[in-house]
């Protein structure tokens, strides 16, 4: 497996010749291209042409002939289920059932068929609009909320919000969506200037910043261009054959909690703990959220080679103790480093690697400091806030909520960096013991919450 190491610089724009907005482009390709061009518009670069009623009855051929395009017709696929990767080479795909055609960015621009162009009155096209990315409901909602906050300009999210509401309603009718979670904790956070998790861990009153401490986060990478990480020391490496740039969101969320900024822009509450720590972003999980071959171990090896004082791993599998994870955790301790891992969300016995005796296992508690129902139990050393956690996510969304022991773990990692900053002797096993000794005792059994809730110095 190839290992690609990069020190941090903002991603450079690649040649425009590489058209990422073809009809067959994957969402990942288009998202990466949007991030590279610094585009916060939510647009994919492709266009949607809506036909006048009845104009498409004759099918794709007249449209194709008029525009000189290579056109794929949804009716050529079984049940009109178009597999987008199978339309490579087509300039446009027509969907006769809804009277809409999806047009590739280059094909549309070269024919003047963009949203800005006037549609001729005698045309059989009613309108041409940009295509937008569609994100899962909670993060998109959050994005629209941030658009409302602190910007004096007219809200560009209004149309999209309406569109999203409609899409959500349809999805819910089809039984695909759970009801939206309550946002009480978010209102609380806005009022107090910090997330509930940071407040519970006594982070805001702490004078420490993690300065001089290296924190490795082995996850899905980081949005390297996220404005909240501008100016930070970031060392990154990928072990999955994909760029470090996080197209998943899990890694950016975890790094946000452990190492995010003290003062996010506008009225965004503080969500990050060790705001001056050096960030080591190791991409050991692909953009689909899974490890590739031995990527997790390769990332652990890299973090130890770089002498990262704290190694945070919000990942795992529901499996018994793995001898290799135990050995890797021991290597870290032998080097004066500490591995911290999420116990898991199966509501069952702690998974690997957190179940190894040499790796600190973190359980999740909610705002009432009660263990989350999903939080794994048994081998648990300590707890962290892990329900409705607000942190950074990749642009253009920027912020969002997630739940899991994955979110509890970076609270422990961030506090560990603060403790490590207080004394050079607090490393490895000494740091492990300090975190446990200073945890806030909770009323739940140790098998659920370990020594209690992690606390900042």
């Amino acid at each position: 497996m190839a290992t690609r190491k990069t020190t941090r610089t903002r991603m450079t724009k690649t040649a425009a010749a590489d058209d990422s907005s073809r009809t067959s482009s994957s969402v990942d390709e288009m998202l990466l291209a949007a991030l590279e061009r610094g585009d916060d518009s939510f647009q994919t670069g492709r266009y949607l042409a809506t036909f006048k009623e009845g104009a498409m009855d004759a099918g794709a051929k007249p449209f194709a002939a008029a525009q000189g395009m290579r056109v794929a017709d949804a009716r050529d696929f079984d049940n009109q289920a178009v597999a987008m990767e199978d339309v490579a080479g087509a300039d446009a795909v027509v969907f006769p059932a809804i009277g809409v055609a999806l047009i590739g960015g280059d094909a549309a621009r070269s024919r003047g068929m963009t949203a800005a162009a006037e549609v001729a009155p005698d045309s059989n096209i009613a309108s041409i609009d940009p295509e937008y990315f569609v994100f899962s409901n909670s993060v998109a909602d959050q994005y629209f909320r941030t658009l409302d906050i602190g910007t004096g300009s007219p809200n560009p999210g209004e149309y999209l919000r309406g569109f999203l509401r409609a899409a959500e309603t349809i999805a819910r009718d089809l039984g695909g969506l759970a009801p939206a979670p309550a946002s009480q904790s978010e209102e609380q956070a806005l009022a107090l200037g910090a997330t509930w998790g940071l407040i519970a861990c006594k982070v805001p009153p702490s004078s420490l910043s993690g300065s001089g401490i290296k924190v490795a986060v082995l996850d899905t990478g980081l949005d390297l261009g996220h404005p909240d990480f501008a100016g930070r020391t970031i060392v990154s490496a990928t072990f999955v054959g994909q760029p470090v740039q996080d197209l998943h969101s899990h890694g950016t969320h975890c790094i946000g909690t452990s190492c995010g900024t003290k003062s996010p822009a506008g009225s965004t509450p503080r969500y990050g703990i060790a705001y001056r720590a050096a960030i080591y972003a190791g991409k050991v999980l692909s953009n689909s959220g899974s490890s590739v071959g031995g990527s997790v171990l390769a990332g652990m090896n890299w973090a130890i080679a770089n002498k990262c004082d704290v190694i945070s791993m919000s990942l795992g599998s529901q499996s018994p103790v793995q001898p290799y994870y135990t050995a890797a955790g021991q290597s870290a301790l032998n080097n004066g480093l500490l591995m911290i891992a999420a116990s898991g969300n199966a509501g069952a016995a702690t998974g690997a690697p957190a179940n190894s005796p040499t790796i600190m296992s973190v359980a999740a508690v909610d705002t009432n400091l009660i263990p989350a129902t999903f939080s794994n139990f048994g081998k648990v050393e300590i707890s962290g806030p892990g329900v409705n956690i607000y942190s950074s996510v990749p642009r253009p969304t920027r912020y969002g909520f997630k739940s899991g022991t994955s979110m509890a773990t970076p609270h422990v990692a961030g506090c560990a960096a603060l403790w490590a900053e207080t004394a050079a002797a607090l490393r490895g096993m000494a740091l492990w013991n300090k975190l446990r000794q200073t945890a806030k005792p909770l009323s739940s059994p140790a098998s659920r919450v370990g020594s209690g809730l992690v606390q900042a110095p």
Partner: protein, 80 residues
Amino acid sequence: MATKKKDWVVTTSGDRPLEEVANELRKSGFKVGEVLHEIGMITGEGEDEVAEKLRKVKGVTDVSANVGADVGPPGSTDTW
């Protein structure tokens, strides 16, 4: 008939140079992925029969199938 190839993690005792162990694993038919010096491990691919051979190599303390790890699909609010 040979079984399907799997991802394995070979843990070593540290008594022998890791590259030397890696070479011996290769001779046993193991497709070495990475040699991880900091943690004394070698990852790679091979059939069950190959893994069984690796266990007999001097300096090898454990050969386990790699269980992998994940955090669920992109954009999900509930994770690992």
